[in-house]
Each structure stands twice: as C-alpha cells, then as structure tokens.
Symmetry: C2
Subunit: 346 residues, 2 copies
C-alpha cells in the first residue's frame, strides 16, 4: 500500500533516504491501517492500490464524492508542541466534514505524509491519529504514501495531506436552499484547521507562548488550545442528509463564513448572519486582541466558534435543531438566507 523503496541500499541511504528505517515502520503502520478495515476492504495491505468493494452500495444512482485536503500549518503547531497523534484526526475530520457538506457518506481514506527524514515514532503517531479518526468515522484507511525528501523538508518537518471518497445518491447533490431558510450553526471545537499561519504569528511568535503554559483564560494549556481536534460532524449530520428540510450544508473552513456559506447557496441568494447569536470562544477573542486583528478579518480567517452551517427550511428549524441536540450538539440559529449574494451581518 505504502509505496516506496522497501529495501536497504547503502549509497542511497548516504544520499539521505533511509530505506531500512522506513521498512520497519511500514510493518507497524500496516497493523494500524488494518484496524480500520471492514469487509469492504478487499485485498489487504501491500498491493499497488487499496481496494474497496462497492457492490453492496445501497444509494440509488450512486455518485462518488471525493476531496483532497491538508491541515495547513497546524503541522507546525504539532511540531512546536511535540505532539503528533492529533493532526491525523484533524485531517480525517476535515475531509469527512467536506463530504457531509457535499451530501455524501464517507467510505475510504488515503493519506500522504512527506518529511525530510522519516522519524518512525512521528510517522506512527500521525497514522495513529488517522486510524483513530477513520475508525470513529467509519472510514477504511485503504492506502497512503510516506515520502522521505531530505532536500525539500527540514529534518523534523513534515506535511500531511489526505484524500477521502464517499458516496451519495445523485438526487441528493446540489443545494435546495431558498430565501427565508434558517441557518443553524454547529459549534466548532477550536480553530479546526484554518488560520494557523496567523494564529502562530500571534500566539507563538508574538506572545511567546510555550506549549505547556496555561492559556490566560485558564483550564487548558496553549498546546491543548491550539491542537484541539477538528470536530467531526458525521454523527450529527449524516443521519440528516436525507431529510428533505435540510437544504444545504457548509463546512466553515478557510475563508470563514463569507468564503464557504455562499458555496452552497444558489446564485442570487446570500446569507444574513447575526454575530450576537453565539458567544465567540475565548481563543478567538485573545487572537483578535493580542494580534490587533479587525473584526472583519477575524470572521474571514477563522470559524469564530461555528464549524458547520446547516441551511434548513424555516418551519423545520426547531425540529432539526432538536435532532442535532439529541445527538449531543445543539445548534444556534445564526441567520437566514436572503435575496442578496454574499454574507451580510446584522
């Protein structure tokens, strides 16, 4: 599954690619990967491609929905905190949420890890996080690639990208949002995976925070606050995807509300949101103040505490909110769909 040179080669190692180390890691990786595999994953680990049987799909007129993503410079926060088993979860959950926004049920996942020098413990921690999230979200981790590129990445640096495939019945694709619909917001667990270049400048470079230092508002360390795992909305949103009153779903990622909500609204429509509808978490307030970042920019770079928006028929808003609450995530009414493109604030 994980391609790459599986054998020892002295001169190649001298040139910076340690083939022996990566072979031992691969065996341990295989066990983690196997922990995510159900009966659909046919063919096991080690072939030229990961296999996933789709003969049993129940979706009518099925459409594969796929997405590629990274976690941005949250990987540099992981390195700063020397904690590598959560960014894999961030990546999987980010990908899963994108599929939910597209109306799809997640099926399988593949990762790409690139590093300057393979540190077996770091790679294992990364895949541990990926596997944990895949198990939780019901995804088969059917493949991946670990690339050692000494001249592109610094020794301890790495990048992490992921690729998810899901399925939707064709009838579920596209937005059914209409004027007057209510926008429900589901709480984020933290910064999720966006805005880290700015957040790192403010917290690490600017305020000189240390990973094990308690945040000014107490209750957690800076490492915990900045590495809080991107929430997966699968358990809340997947059961709602066939609800005719759920008209659209938007994942609030890079670009914030303005960059993401309009992606799921038909042309000519926009959203009017009410900032006072929810309390912005302390971390975002700290970033705005310590970084002297304007409110407008805060709402464009960060999720401000809302990670997912559900656009629902007004008359069903209460019922759908209750359904979310029953699954542990009570939403907030944050606005409505209006006949003016873009996102406005009241």
């Amino acid at each position: 599954m994980r391609d790459g040179p599986p054998v020892s080669a002295p001169a190649y190692r001298a040139a910076g690619v340690d083939l022996e180390g990566s072979d031992a890691v691969k065996r341990r990786l295989a066990r983690l990967v196997e922990s995510t595999l159900g009966p659909e994953a046919v063919g096991g680990v080690g072939g030229f491609g990961g296999c996933y049987a789709i003969g049993g799909l129940t979706e009518a007129d099925p459409v594969l929905v796929a997405s590629a993503d990274g976690v941005g410079t949250k990987v540099l926060v992981a390195r700063w905190a020397n904690r590598h088993d959560t960014v894999g979860q961030d990546l999987v959950h980010h990908c899963v949420n994108d599929l939910l926004a597209a109306g799809a049920r997640p099926l399988l996942f593949l990762d790409y890890i690139a590093t300057g020098m393979i540190d077996p413990e770091v790679v294992l921690a990364l895949v541990e996080g990926l596997a944990r999230a895949c198990r939780a979200d019901g995804l088969a981790l059917i493949g991946g690639e670990t690339a050692e590129m000494p001249d592109l990445y610094a020794a301890g640096d790495y990048d992490l990208a992921g690729f998810v495939v899901g399925v939707a019945p064709r009838s579920r694709l596209g937005s059914r949002a209409a004027t007057g619909d209510v926008v429900l917001g589901l709480a984020a667990s933290g910064l999720h995976t966006n805005g880290y270049t700015l957040a790192r400048r403010i917290v690490i470079d600017g305020a000189g925070a240390r990973p094990d230092e308690t945040v000014p508002w107490g209750g957690e360390t800076w490492a915990e606050a900045l590495l809080a795992v991107h929430r997966s909305y699968r358990a809340t949103v997947l059961p709602l995807l066939d609800d005719p009153d759920l008209h659209a779903v938007a994942h609030v990622t890079g670009g914030g509300f303005a960059g993401n909500l309009p992606r799921v609204l038909p042309g000519g429509l926009g959203a009017r949101l009410d900032r006072s509808a929810w309390e912005v978490p302390q971390l975002f307030r700290f970033l705005a103040e310590a970084g002297n970042v304007s409110e407008e920019e805060m709402y464009r770079v960060f999720n401000m505490g809302i990670g997912m928006c559900l656009v629902v028929a007004a008359e069903a808003a209460g019922r759908i909110a209750d359904a979310c609450a029953l699954r542990g995530l009570p939403p907030v009414r944050i606005g409505r769909v209006v006949e003016e493109e873009g996102v406005g604030w009241e």
Copy 2:
C-alpha cells in the same frame, strides 16, 4: 473544489498567506480542470467535493481501487530546470500505472499542491501537466487542494501529491502468477519518478550539470534527460487486463525489481531475471559510473530501463508481446517465475 481562503484579508496576507493571488489563480485552474471532465463528472467545479457518477459502471461486482503518490524530489529537478509543466504528468502517469498493476481502470484524480508562496504561473504549469495527463489517460480531475504554507516550504519550493481512484471487477483482483510464467518488461522513458535524491546528488551536485547542457551521450539536455515524463502504460496494458493469460502486473517504482515484482507474486514464488536481456539506457550507465554506485544498488534504486513488468503464461508470451508491440511498445522477455522467493539474477 480547491478549498482555501478565497478572499482578501490584509493582516492574513502580512502573515504570509496571500489570499488575493490564489483567488485569481483558482479561476484559471477551474478552466484547466474542466477540460478533463466528461459526463460522469456531475456537479461542476467549486463544491465541497468533486462528484463522479458511477451508475453506468459495467464492471461486475465492482471494487474501487485507490492509490496515493508523490513524485519525490523530481519536483526539485523541475525547480532546477525551471520547467514545471511535466511533473504533473509524471504524477498522473505514476498513479495510473499503479492502478493498472492492481488490475483497475482509472476513473478520477485529485491533486495536492503545497508551496511556500503561491506563484500563479508555477501552479498553473503544474495543473497544466496534470490536466494534460488526465485527458490523455481518460481521468477526470475532479478536485484538488492548493495550500500556501510559508513556514514549512521555502518561497519557490513546492510538493505535489496525487490521488487516483479506479474500478475493477472483483474477479480481476489478485495475482494468478505461477511457476514457469514469463516476465515481460516494458521500456521506461527515463528515471520515471524514483531515485531522484541519488540522481540529483550525482548529476547536479557531483557533476555540476546545468539544465541546458547537452548530456555526455548527446541528443538531449540534462533537463530533458532528468525530466523525461514517466511513461503511462495505460494504452498498452488496459486492453490486456481481461486476458486470462496475463497473470500479474508490477509497476517498477521505488525499490526497483526486488521491491516491486514480489508484491504481485503469490507466497513462495519469486522471479529470476536476466540482466543481459535488455540494454540499460545511457542515463543509468552514467549514474552508475559518475556516482560509483554498485550494480546491485542501481537495480534496487532505479528502474534500469524497464518501467512495467507483465507476468504472463509461458505459452501466451509471444501473443501478448505481439499485442503490446501492436500498440507501439514491444516488450522484452526479461525472466521467469521460479519457486524461490525474491528476485534473483542469472
């Protein structure tokens, strides 16, 4: 499709992420992407996931086959030669060949481009290469992610990874190789995407080659020799996948013959290959001599001129070789399957 902040934000730009530039690029990227889309790609460009309808698949008991890959430090050769429109082809062809080795027909592709600072022309050249290869290989480029990570990548550096999904009838999965089978080798077009860390050390650092300088054996420049596009074997191998006498296919990537041929042979079996069966191209001979690399290591790091191996029933070897030749790629008989694990040489 390409996630990421699509709006302008002054302080975020000051922190190193230029959102404005990437938005303009996205529009031009969308046009390239659309050039690869057929009727199966439903939903267009810009949603939270790329969509590919599979209601029309004709494979019995269909299995999705997926693979993730990079092009290793061939990206650094592209930067050295300042030529960025071929590594995208390398990536797609590498992925397609992996799927063929797994017995699958390629359907869709997604890319991940990470860079220190988005250079619109470079990103466009990369996607131009991806789109060109996707069109040639019949793949829909239904998504991708372009990530700007100033503190992880140097300004002009980038990494490039790809994800491919194909389909195979379940009956086609797995190896049918048996003792006595013949191994046919299909010529590589160059180094393909493996061994570049060692090749760069020898050619660029060691011999001080310049991109526009003619190679010692004449006929091409160093840039042309090192950036020769990874050959796609789709046109040759795809029509053979249902041939009952084609028992296994191996893509010769990192690890060479020893690292890849055993991956498609049943336990207990191996291959005995004959080095004198084909002429090793000049580039590999130069690398061995200039880098003082042992023959053993050369065959473990590089493809040595054979990019794909077909394991075929002995009595059908002539017929299958003729079929390949008819499609423009006459293979070489390079060995046979034996009752001894691993790859031996005669």
